[in-house]
C-alpha cells in the first residue's frame, strides 16, 4: 500500500483491497472525509485509520428512473464526517436509521451501508 500517493488514490487503493479507510489529523484528532491533503483546520499531518463503519442516515432520497429506483443517502459516520452513499437491500429507510458500512468489491469498489439494529 503506497501511502505516499495523493489521498484520493490512497483511498481508492484501500477500497480495491476491501478496506474503508479515512484520514485523521495527528495533532488535532480531526477526522477528514472525503480524503484531502489538509484538514478543515489546515493540518497536513494526516494518517489513515480504519473507519468504524458505523453511521446514521442524515438524509435520503430515492432516484426513480426508467432503469429502476436507487436510494442515495447522506450518512453521518460515527467519527464525524458525512459521506454520500447508498443503503443496500432496501428501497429506502427512515432518516436516523443506524447503518454499517461494507466495501462492495467489483470494477469500481465503493462503500455501501446495511441497516443495523439501533445501538443504545
Amino acid at each position: 500500500m503506497d501511502e505516499g500517493a495523493g489521498p484520493q488514490k490512497v483511498y481508492e487503493d484501500y477500497l480495491a483491497r476491501g478496506r474503508f479507510m479515512i484520514q485523521r489529523a495527528r495533532a488535532t484528532g480531526e477526522y477528514v472525509f472525503y480524503p484531502r491533503t489538509l484538514s478543515a483546520s489546515g493540518e497536513t499531518d494526516l494518517e489513515w485509520v480504519e473507519a468504524s463503519g458505523l453511521g446514521t442516515v442524515y438524509a435520503i432520497t430515492v432516484n426513480r428512473s426508467r432503469d429502476g429506483s436507487v436510494n442515495i443517502a447522506l450518512v453521518d459516520l460515527d467519527e464525524g464526517p458525512r459521506m454520500m452513499a447508498t443503503v443496500v437491500g432496501v428501497e429506502t429507510v427512515p432518516i436516523g436509521t443506524q447503518v454499517k458500512a461494507r466495501v462492495e468489491r467489483g470494477e469500481s469498489p465503493r462503500v455501501v451501508f446495511d441497516p443495523v439494529e439501533p445501538r443504545p
Binding site: 438524509a59 426513480r64 432518516i95
Partner: protein, 383 residues
Amino acid sequence: MSHSLRGRTAIVGLGLAGVGEAPGFSAMELLGLSVRAALDDAGLKLSDIDAVFAATSSHAFASMSVTEYLGLRPKYFDSTNIGGSSFEMHLLQASLALEAGLCDVALICYGSNQRTAGGRLVSMSEPQWHETPYRPRHPITAYALATARHMHQYGTSREMLADVAVAARQWANLNPDAFARGPLTRADVLGKRMVSDPLTAGDCCLVTDGAAACLLVRAERAKDFPKPPAYFLGAAGANWHRSIQAMPDLTVTAASESGPRAFALAGVSREDVDLLMLYDAFTINTILFLEDLGFCPKGEGGRFVQDGRIAPGGTLAVNTNGGGLSCVHPGMYGMFLIAEGVTQIRGEAGERQLKRADIALLHGNGGTLSSQVTAFLGSEAAL
C-alpha cells in the same frame, strides 16, 4: 456599516429574448438578441458597452465568447461562474468596476437554448469523484436530500411544498410571458410523477430556452435614459460548500449569511422590501430562502407559504413573474431575477404589477444550494 455602493449605479437597459421556446436558435444567438433588446431599451449603441459580465451553461469562457460574438473590445470583463447566482454576483462586480471608473457601460448577460436543444438541463458542472459511485442525479438529488431533511426536522409536508408551486403558477397566470400557465392545484402537484423522493416533477423548475441582458451605468447619468433607473443598492455573497455532502446543515443555506450582510450593505430592512425574487429551482428553495433571509423563523417556511401568503393577493409578494417553477428556467435563472426586479421597479409589470415596488430583493442560488448571493435593487424613491 458604510453604504458606499448604495445607489451609485443603476440598470438603465433590459432585454429578453427567446423566453420559453425558441426553436432553431443557439444559446449565443438568443443572448445576442437579448443584448440588442437591452440596447434599444436604453437607447445605447453596441459600441457603448465597455465591460462584459457573462456566464452560461455552455461556454467555458463566456465573456470571451460574448465579446467576440458582439464584436466588442471591453476594458473590463468577468466570466465568474458560480451557477445560477452568477448574475447577482455580476451586479456587485459591475458596480464595483463602474464605481472605480474602470468602465462606463457594463453588460450582464445570459443565454440558453436548452429546451429546444435537448429538453434536459445543460450543465458544465463536473462530477464529484466521491459522489460518482452512488450515481446522484444532480441537481435534483441534492435538493431532494435537503427537502427530506427539512421535512424530518421541521414537519414540512409535501402539501406545503406544493403550495409553493401553486403560488408560482398563480403569478405566472398574470404574466403573459410566462411559459407555464393555466390552472394548477395542490393535488395536481402532488399527483405528478415522483422523480426523487419527496420531489415530484411539479416540485421542479421548468426547462426552457431564454436569454436576458441588462446594462448598468453610474448613477450620475442614470436619469439620461428613457426608462426609470433601477438603482443597485448593495449585494453580498456567501459560499460554504460545492457538493451536497459538504453542506454543514441541509436545512440552513449560506443565504443566512449573505442576507444579513446584503441588508446591512444596502441599508435596507425587511419591512422595506416590496418584492422578493427567490431562486426557485425546486419548491424547497423558496421555503429555505424565506427562512434564511429572515422572513419567517427557521423551520416555519412550509407553514408560512400556506394559505396563499406568497401568491397574488397574499401578504408577501414572492416571484411575481411565476419564478423558475412556472415562468422561465433556462438552466441558469439568475438574470431573470434581475429582469423581474427591474420590470416591477419600472412599473411595467402589467396585470401582476405591485402597488408599491420600490425595493426588490433578488436572491440567487447556484450549484447544490451552494453559492448564495443576495442583491437589492431600488427605485429613485428608495434612495
